[in-house]
């Protein structure tokens, strides 16, 4: 008889913790982890320091290369899930492979958000979410002096710090609909402006971007309602959105993220979601929340795994660490850093 097959989609903290927890609890389970990026599990929050050169690539990785093999966890990297069929319990990979599962944990995390009105300029924005992004930045920064940061999520702040440390000139355009995961108000605006200015950042407030144009490989021109700027690179930091588009019309309940109950269960038996892609209702907040941050993801991955094999553990967010943005609340452990 074939052993039960548990597939984990994603290769971040939630996914890896889920896999390790499952293996810790069961020797018989067949476990497959499918990661879209072609690299091993790394600490994404350290990427700014990797870009600045403070850390080497090897410092980012979490597990030694042979770790998964030793634990008999099949790790499949650089492979993308195209869709999931819950009727037949099949995962379809984008190279047209069919993988059958008995249970499933979706822990795909988030992807950088670009507001709809700016999506026509997507090509000119650089994000910093993946190691691949970081490599592009590293390359770019070799001969870039002036960087424009647009938006203003938490990654942008640590990245700004890293850029300043590299001696770059940073212009920061604070964008109210995107200062994620915070709901933006004047108090925060002035607080942020003050902090950044003190560190030598040129802060632009209340601007509307009218157009972006790539002048050359190394020059982007930005037109706002107030001025025209010319910079070497533009970083887009509008926060993350759960990377769940591939599950559209799969039958899962999806709003921003995958809607799960307190036990991280989706509406299908044996199917869980964890980490930055899960959306949970919180009675105290009177709102849904989505976790961000390494620790939260790690924790949710563990809970999903334990519940999958019969546990009954509630995922709970601490209200103080939850912030609202655009109708959605987020739980973060990063905020304390700022």
């Amino acid at each position: 008889m074939n052993p039960e097959h548990c597939v984990i989609i994603g290769n971040g903290p939630a996914a890896n913790e889920a896999a390790l927890t499952l293996r810790g609890e069961s020797r018989d389970l067949r476990i497959t982890v499918i990661g879209q990026e072609p690299v091993r599990h790394y600490k994404a929050y350290l990427l700014p320091e990797y870009v600045s050169g403070k850390l080497a690539e090897d410092d980012l990785y979490v597990n030694p290369p042979a770790d998964h093999r030793e634990r008999d966890i099949k790790l499949r990297l650089g492979q993308k899930v195209e869709t999931v069929s819950f009727d037949t319990r099949e995962i379809i990979l984008d190279h047209k492979e069919v993988v059958r599962f008995d249970s499933l944990i979706v822990a795909v995390g988030g992807i950088p958000r670009i507001p709809e009105r700016l999506q026509v300029f997507s090509d000119l924005f650089l994000a910093l979410k993946t190691l691949a992004d970081a490599r592009i930045w590293k390359q770019k920064l070799k001969d870039a002096e002036t960087i424009l940061m647009v938006g203003g999520d938490l990654t942008s702040l640590s990245f700004t710090k890293a850029l300043l440390a590299m001696g770059k000139r940073v212009i920061f355009m604070i964008n109210e609909d995107s200062f994620w995961p915070l709901r933006f108000d004047d108090e925060i605006r002035s607080q942020v402006t003050e902090r950044l200015t003190a560190k030598g950042v040129e802060v632009l407030n209340r601007r509307t971007i009218k157009g972006l144009a790539g002048i050359s490989e190394n020059e982007v021109e930005i037109e706002t309602d107030a001025e025209k700027l010319s910079v070497n690179a533009v970083g887009a930091f509008f926060g993350l959105v759960p990377n769940v588009k591939f599950l559209a019309r799969s039958g899962l309940h999806i709003d921003r993220g995958i809607l799960v109950d307190d036990y991280l269960r989706t509406r299908f038996a044996g199917v869980y979601a964890a980490g930055d892609c899960a959306q949970v209702y919180h009675p105290e907040l009177r709102d849904y929340w989505v976790s961000i941050g390494y620790k939260n993801a790690w924790n949710l991955g563990k809970i999903a795994a334990l519940n999958l094999i019969g546990g009954k553990i509630r995922a709970q967010a601490v209200a103080q660490s939850i912030f609202r943005v655009g109708g959605i609340a987020v739980n973060t452990s990063w905020w304390t850093e700022f």
């Binding site: 379809i92 026509v120 309940h253």
Partner: protein, 596 residues
Amino acid sequence: MTCKNLVTNEQPSTEKRAGGVVYSADPADFAYARVNIPCQEACPAYTDIPAYIRCAYERRYGRSYEINRSVNLFPGVLGRICSRPCESKCRHGERELGDPVGICHIKRAASDFKGPGRIHGETIASSPGKTVCVIGAGPAGLAAAHDLSTIGFDVTVLEAFDEPGGMLRYGIPEFRLPRNVLKQEIDTILRFGVKLRTGIRVGTDVAMEELLFRFDAVLVAAGCYVSRKLDVPGENLPGVSSGLAFVVDANARRAPVIGDDVLVIGAGFSAFDCARSALRLGARNVSLCIRATEEDLRVTEDEIFETKREGITIRSLVVSRRILGNGKVEGVEFLRTGPGDRLPNGRRHITPIEGSEFVIPADSVIVAIGQGAEPIPSPGETDRRGVLTADPGTFRTSVRQLYAAGDFMTGPTTVIESIAAGRRAAEQIARDLTGKRFREWAIRIEEARLTDRERSWDFIPRVEMPAVLPVQDRLHPPDRQVEIGFSDEEAFEEAKRCYLCYLHYEIDIDRCIYCRYCIDVAPRDCIKLVQEVVTDEQGAITGFVETNEWGRVSAVAIDNSRCIRCGACVRVCPMDCISVSKVQKVERLLHPWGDT
């Protein structure tokens, strides 16, 4: 499942015509068309989509337009605002095949490029000398009037508003549908002697009883002009308006007053129209509040994207509990919701979460959660709101001579459904009055040749509809059409993508030697070694049991549901046993003028 055939209880016999053409009424053939030409089947009016796209490819835009107009009457309108049930069924959108063909955009191209001097052909039938009154000049009413007029009925249309068009004129904003396009198509519809009288409200200006006396039949197609209410406290506060009233005012250029912070409650096209119109009327922050999630919205993905791009926020999983304000609206209190299973009607069951109250401030609230029909004083059985009821199959009310159709009868639907309903009602009325059938659907099968379609065309990416950018430029003037329309070249490229599902490829197993040459050249797994053929009760093939065991291979069979009509198999078959035929569901006028 029965075919939505006009002829539900009578079966025309299969007959042959010259030139190798067969018209079939065999249920198996209808079933074939249903399974294999999914776009045409998805269209309530059964528009022959592969045929008109092929014409567009041949740059015969006039013919392409006419193929549309012969069944849906409003190609120019539909090319801009159709809900496109066909595209979600297009095989190009199936998993692994890419995106659906931009069927609707090609329709618009046919309309844009057909040429101003185009003379619309029309098959007309002999006059039976009967009179019919149609109440309502919306899509259903106009469609019924058109069909009756072309078969010789004397038709009068009564319209309560000042202009004809119904929701097309008063419900759809001008930035979507320019009025000159609408006017031209209405004029074409009316040209066979339909008498249009506007500004006449039945029950007020004229009594139903009088109409029943003066006409041989009366068809009520008065649409849905009563807004549904939220039924929450505060709904009558100033600053709260119904979506319908808002758009009718906006479209009649009566410039409704709008605040800075606008909440639109509702999830349909109307709600989106309200939100985008509000922005064009000067609102600063517009939010759409929906009960379920974006995924459940029944508008197109493009619509959601464009709406967000214009700066409108969509707030999901919320349900309004009361409208707050003191003499004027100040905000709305909502509850969060949790989504449940999908209901049979496609909507999502949702459950408000107790104790999740929260408030969003606003100075205007537009409630666009649906409409219902307005009761018309009339004899006959009604529902509990006093609206005349009719049999959905025959359109007959309890009063002989009196019929009802369109949104008036069914509640709000789409334009294309209304048109289809109006046409079907017209046929029913004509039959009831004369005892004769005038139009019927058949499956037309014709020998065909290989086309010039190439495999490489499958990889052409879907041509995006060009839209006015940057977004700021859209808002002034407010009636500026947002979608620019395909160029001739774009329409040609998009038309190339169509798989031409009306072409049927089949291997004659009697002559097949099972050499698999066809499989060798097949571009994808569209030709199979088949052990058994699975059919449904009507005889349509719904699947194949495949095998790789030589002794079990009963046939080498083309799976038409995976065929992309590249013709590679036909070219190599040593036994010449692969035939191509054109299979179309067509409507036929049974007693054309001059046919004795």
